[in-house]
Amino acid sequence: MIFWQILVDGFAISALYALGATGFTLIFGVSGVLNLSHGAIMVAAAVGAWAAAGELHVGPYAAALIGIAVGMLLAFATYFITVRPIQRSGRIAESEKEIFILTATLLWGIIVQETIAYLFTNNAKTVLPIVDGTVMFLGVRTPTNEFFTAAVCWLAIGALWLLVNKTQRGKAVLAASMNPRGVTLLGIELSGIYLTVWAVYGLLAGIAGILLGMFLGVSSYSVGPLTASAFSIVVLGGLGSVSGSLIAAYVVGYLETLTAYLISPAYRTIPALLLLVVVMYVRPQGLFGRR
């Protein structure tokens, strides 16, 4: 019984982690940007969907779409306000740009977080679920929403795989992640590729945020932990490796679920963080990293 419970519960939460980390790792792989406003964008999307349902009285689907739009808008805002000016600046040394972008996105994330707290208070909020009720699955009473969450996550990840591997644009993105200079030599504008990547990122982060809001609920306090969890999953899987992030998301998701069930819910996150430390010692490039 407890075995099936862990299997079922761990699957949905891991799928959510995977989706959240995918966008994060994609941005890093293509443009070398570690976006520390990740958690803020996810929370903003969820709060946007919550506010749309509460203030505009729209249905759950429309609310979710509005939330995704908020996520994409914020992703573009992050790119145009904080990342691009630093990337293009002539006054910041090339070698220091990474740390500048890191700091800028962190501060941007705090600005977004505080704005959410100011406008909507720091109370936790939940997004109106699209599917309601529970089903019995392998003897476990499971909210239908968990299946919905897992399905949407994997559909989004599958769509991303198709985009990257089967479309012209996607192949250019993939090429840029391997060798940006080579791509420019082929006559493809890097800035166009960046825009594509940030749009895809906003979409993924928005969907992940809304699913999280439906599944567990979010507040402005969730911003830091969400960024941290995406960051540690991506580092564990290997920075820039999408497949590595997916596997790492499942490792972390199941490790947390196992801990919560078998030891205590109070220690939920500790073993995954210990694993991260061990991996950093033994294999600093991460489980599947290239760099």
Binding site: Q5, D9, I13, A53, G54, Y118, T121, N122, N123, A124, K125, T126, V127, L128, P129, D132, G133, T134, R141, T142, P143, N145, F215, L216, G217, S219, Y221, S222, P225, E256, T257, A260, Y261, P265, A266, R268
Partner: protein, 411 residues
């Protein structure tokens, strides 16, 4: 010669004191400092409610001709800023008493300052038992602090009383699991629950404490469900929305009953998309519940003036201004020593019940007296978007209703 000089100077001093005393009585306002959290849902009602009370007192002519003046300090939820505000209030703005904060950590930081600066301080919303324990430990130093809200251990007692009347007697419930967040205020609360639940007729099967930053409650609910208790007795404040929503989405068949601070907010229904249907929670006030004849007129006046409903600490802050004003009247002075003695004689029917402070010698000296005839608290339940009072019986506004997935013991 020497004694003669002393006599003369003493006489001059007395004369000066008398002079300034009469001058003060005629003109000087009674100044009350309010140090509170302006941006937090729970703290934002404290200053407006105090202001309202002061205006009411002043329109009726003040206290012995003296107006009541409220001086407001926003502490941005920070203990350090609160301490600075307290120092400024006492030494620069010359306040006679201070109403401070709903956060236990803030009040605990101010308590030694109330002692050092010998200034009466009362909190409208903090719950930690340590506040009154400090007074009991060193009464002479800490006697300036008064606890104007319920302590955690008092809260546990009220929840147990309500559990007996609402769960054990009519629904024949026999077993419970305590579920609480791991925080300072829940330690005395849980100890209280462990002691009083069996007396109320509920056997405690287990005690689940979880980290306040928990987001996924599935394992916690599954663990509790496996124990098959009749009810979950809660102690939550930092979390609220998330366990409530997951309780509903996972259709956990056990009712939730106890302290859930976030559920007292009027926005909780919206925050949880209605998942809070059927949740029972303790409060000192509720919409439309006339705890005393003063409750509803206060709410109406507050809504008329500010356009929204007061949080729980608004009720107590409003009462505290009246209590301080009456104590000044009884003492005939704003001298701190006399004010403490007069505050200790408080017997005041406010918006949340009849208020008396526990006497010196009690382990919770300067805490509120609770129980029948004093403050009993309420047990509210969220029903179809509204908070409806269930307990005590004479103030009940309806019957308990649970969502269909909750299974009550067969009887």
């Amino acid at each position: 010669m020497r004694s003669n000089f002393l006599n003369v100077s003493a006489g001059v001093l007395v004369a000066c004191g008398a002079l300034s005393g009469t001058a003060a009585l005629a003109a000087d306002p009674i100044k009350i400092g309010v140090i509170a959290e302006a941006q937090a849902v729970a703290g934002s009602s404290i200053a407006p409610a105090a202001q309202l009370a002061a205006e009411e007192i002043n329109t009726k002519g003040g206290i012995d001709g003296r107006k009541v003046e409220i001086v407001v300090y926003d502490n941005h939820s920070s203990s350090a800023e609160s301490v600075r505000a307290f120092q400024r209030a006492v030494s620069e703005d010359k306040v006679n008493a201070v109403i401070a904060s709903y956060v236990s950590e803030v009040v605990l930081a101010l308590e030694p300052w109330a002692a050092r600066l010998k200034t009466v301080m009362i909190t409208p919303g903090a719950a930690s038992d340590v506040i009154t324990q400090n007074i009991a430990k060193d009464y002479d130093a800490n006697k300036y602090t008064f606890h104007g809200y319920l302590t955690s251990s008092a809260l546990s007692g009220l929840v147990c009383d309500a559990a007996k009347d609402l769960l054990v007697d009519p629904l024949k419930m026999k077993t419970a699991v305590i579920v609480s967040e791991d925080a300072a205020w829940t330690t005395p609360l849980d100890a209280g629950y462990e002691k009083c639940l069996p007396k109320a007729g509920l056997k405690v099967l287990d005690h689940v404490r979880f980290s306040p930053d928990t987001t996924d409650f599935t394992p916690i609910f599954n663990k509790i469900e496996a124990l098959k208790p009749d009810v979950m007795i809660t102690g939550i404040s930092h979390v609220g929305t998330q366990p409530t929503v997951q309780w509903k989405s996972q259709q956990v068949p056990i009712p939730m009953f106890g302290i859930s601070s976030q559920a007292t907010n009027s926005t909780f229904w919206k925050d949880t998309n209605g998942a809070t249907q059927g949740v029972l929670f303790n409060a000192v006030s509720g919409p439309g519940v006339a705890v005393t004849p003063k409750t509803l007129p206060f709410v109406a006046a507050y809504q008329k003036k500010y356009g929204n409903s007061p949080a729980y600490s608004g009720y107590t802050a409003y009462d505290e201004v009246y209590m301080i004003a009456e104590a000044v009247k009884r003492a005939g002075s704003t001298d701190s020593e006399k004010l403490v003695a007069a505050m200790e004689k408080t017997d005041y029917v406010g918006t949340i019940g009849r208020i008396e402070f526990l006497p010196k010698g009690d382990p919770h000296v300067h805490g509120l007296r609770t129980g029948p005839g004093y403050i009993t608290g309420l047990m509210l339940q969220w029903q179809d978007g509204k908070q409806v009072n269930m307990w005590p019986k004479q103030l009940a506004g309806g019957d308990m209703k649970f969502p269909p997935f909750v299974k009550l013991p067969a009887h």
